[in-house]
């Protein structure tokens, strides 16, 4: 029981980092990056192949690049940085010229191409077979499952804490104000001298970095990863968590991550399956879809709407 709780909390923290990063892009700035999860995948792969050495013997054949055997914090950081670099590339070629739903299509397409390449090009990250036997952050220390979960919880919570402070600081700063202006009306923002494109680039990079670190944490926790883990569906789940939790509300992102991803996930364990194991996942997805639409219809700002953030000394929302 304790193990499940700790594991759920740890995963909740990791997911919260992703929703937060996604929110900085979409909620704060209005950039809908429909392939956000792909950047988590990039972070995961890089964290793995920089901390793994040559393929371990006797556990099946894996082929992958790098094999640097670096310590885990470095792997995490590199995961974040490479993801950020990929984000930079995407935004440099895409964001400047595209309206919001076009951008959604482009980002999805980019994500699909990346997925396709990783899935098929085996020498990169072992293709469709995925990576496994990724070293735990505790190295060769033998810990129980619970012990390891606690360690991961501490590490994830610390990372979440840092990124939470980052998101909050950004929101309440003049930079955050620029982001809101860009979100609401790019023409007005530019008419007052704001560098719209630069703001969009920064936000894309920061959000991608966070996704990369979260991905790194995830793979170091689970110890394995394969292309089925980052199908487009995953970004949609994050989006649901974002919207339901609260668009542009950094507290809402934490709530959304824990509520949608964790609670619904855990609750669905207790559903009867009627002999069909696939039913649980499907019902869960339907519930999330319905919840998303209901929120958009009746509480479009989310459970914790943006108006609840105290800006300029304002009191609680009207």
């Amino acid at each position: 029981m304790m193990y499940f709780l700790v594991a759920a909390l740890a995963l909740g923290c990791i997911n919260a980092i992703m929703v937060l990063g996604f929110n900085i892009q979409y909620g704060f700035t209005g950039i809908l990056n429909f392939t956000y999860y792909t950047f988590a995948a990039i972070g995961a792969y890089i964290a793995a192949v920089t901390t793994m050495g040559p393929p371990p013997q006797g556990v099946g054949i894996q082929v992958y690049i790098l094999q640097w055997s670096l310590p885990w914090p470095v792997g995490l950081l590199l995961g974040g940085l490479v993801a950020a670099a990929a984000g930079l590339l995407v935004v440099l070629i895409a964001v400047r010229r595209l309206r919001s739903d076009y951008l959604a299509i482009v980002t999805v397409s980019v994500g699909y191409i990346i997925w396709d390449v990783i899935d098929n090009y085996i020498p990169l990250f072992n293709g469709d077979n995925g990576l496994f036997a990724v070293p735990h952050i505790t190295g060769s220390m033998r810990l129980s499952s619970l012990g390891y979960a606690v360690v991961m919880l501490i590490v994830s919570a610390l990372c979440l804490g840092v990124f939470y402070l980052v998101a909050r600081r950004i929101y309440h700063s003049p930079f955050g104000r620029v982001l809101r202006a860009v979100r609401e009306d790019e023409v007005v923002a530019a008419s007052f001298g704001k560098n719209v494109f630069q703001a969009q680039v920064w936000v894309f990079v920061i959000g991608s970095f966070m996704a990369g670190v979260a991905g790194g944490l995830l793979i170091q926790y689970i110890g394995a990863w394969n292309p089925n883990a980052f199908l487009p569906l995953e970004t949609f789940v994050l989006l649901a968590a974002l919207v339901i939790g609260g668009t542009a509300n950094y507290n809402g992102s934490i709530l959304g991550a824990f509520l949608i991803i964790e609670v619904v996930d855990e609750a669905s364990r207790f559903l009867p399956t009627f002999g069909r194991p696939d039913l649980v996942g499907a019902v869960r997805a339907i519930v999330i879809g319905v919840a998303l639409i209901l929120v958009l219809r009746f509480k479009p700002g989310g459970l914790l709407a943006e108006s609840r953030v105290r800006l300029y000394g304002r009191g609680e929302a009207r």
Binding site: P174, R180, I206, R314
Partner: protein, 254 residues
């Protein structure tokens, strides 16, 4: 009125889809002058403003601001040189509070850089406090201080025009381009807007405004430029221009 001109439009041409909206337009605007831009519908006034404001790139001609050619420079560059505009269809950031609409206009904000925002809070927090104070003063000056937290979208048309002005001033413009600042505003408010605008040249701001309300123009502007068919027809004081037969023709003939 000084002889120095802050803005010089030189033979500007702008056409789209075969329509020659601005067709060889040339005139100057003196520093700290208050100049009206009038003319019949379709004369190209708003298009010209849009060109000066950086939203449109002219096919030929120059727009000299303080001696520098800014034609085609883009909104951001032009704003940073001290030219601020209002929009014909009031463009506020509707979902954001009034105070934020004003704050966004301030220039040279140290905290707008993400690195500074994240790691150097002591450098921008004092500036933020100063800016908030100035923003509140401006809101009071236009009578909107009670609506500090109201989303801009909830303001009436007239209130939004006032917000436009407060916002524009927050940017400390050298040249303020106004596109129909009183459209859709009831008369008492028009007068208030006129009074506020009249204070501006003394504060160092040059005004160039497109307007159709002649009473308003008479009240605020030193002189007017009459545009017709994409170019300047004549200029002078409103009285001089009203008597000009060509001007009357232009308005009637359309």
């Amino acid at each position: 009125m000084t002889t120095e001109s802050i803005l010089e439009i030189r033979d500007v041409h702008f056409a789209y889809g075969g329509v020659r909206a601005v067709d060889g337009c040339s005139f100057t605007v003196g520093r700290q002058a208050s100049t009206g831009l009038i003319g019949p519908n379709g004369a190209g006034k708003s298009t010209l403003i849009e060109v000066v404001a950086g939203g449109l790139r002219p096919q030929s001609g120059q727009v000299l601001f303080e001696g520098e050619d800014i034609a085609g420079m883009g909104r951001m560059g032009i704003a940073r040189r001290g030219i601020v505009r209002t929009f014909q269809l009031s463009r506020e950031l509707l979902h954001l509070p009034v105070i934020e609409n004003v704050m966004i206009a301030a220039q040279d904000q140290v905290g707008e850089n993400p690195m500074t925002a994240l790691f150097a809070a002591p450098r921008w927090r004092p500036q933020e406090t100063d800016l908030l104070q100035r923003a509140d003063e401006l809101l009071a000056w236009v009578g909107l201080e009670r609506l500090r937290y109201a989303p801009a979208g909830s303001l009436s048309g007239g209130q939004r025009r006032l917000l436009d002005i407060a916002r524009a001033l927050m940017a400390r413009p050298k040249l303020l381009l106004l596109d129909e600042p009183t459209a859709g505003v009831y008369p008492a408010l028009v007068q208030m807007i006129a009074e506020r605008l009249k204070e501006l040249p003394a504060m160092g701001v040059t005004l160039l405004m497109v307007a159709h309300n002649m009473g308003f123009v008479a009240s605020v502007c030193d002189d007017v430029v009459v545009m017709a068919q994409g170019r300047m027809l004549t200029r002078g004081s409103l009285d001089e221009v009203r008597g000009n037969r060509e001007v009357v023709q232009a308005y009637l003939g359309g």
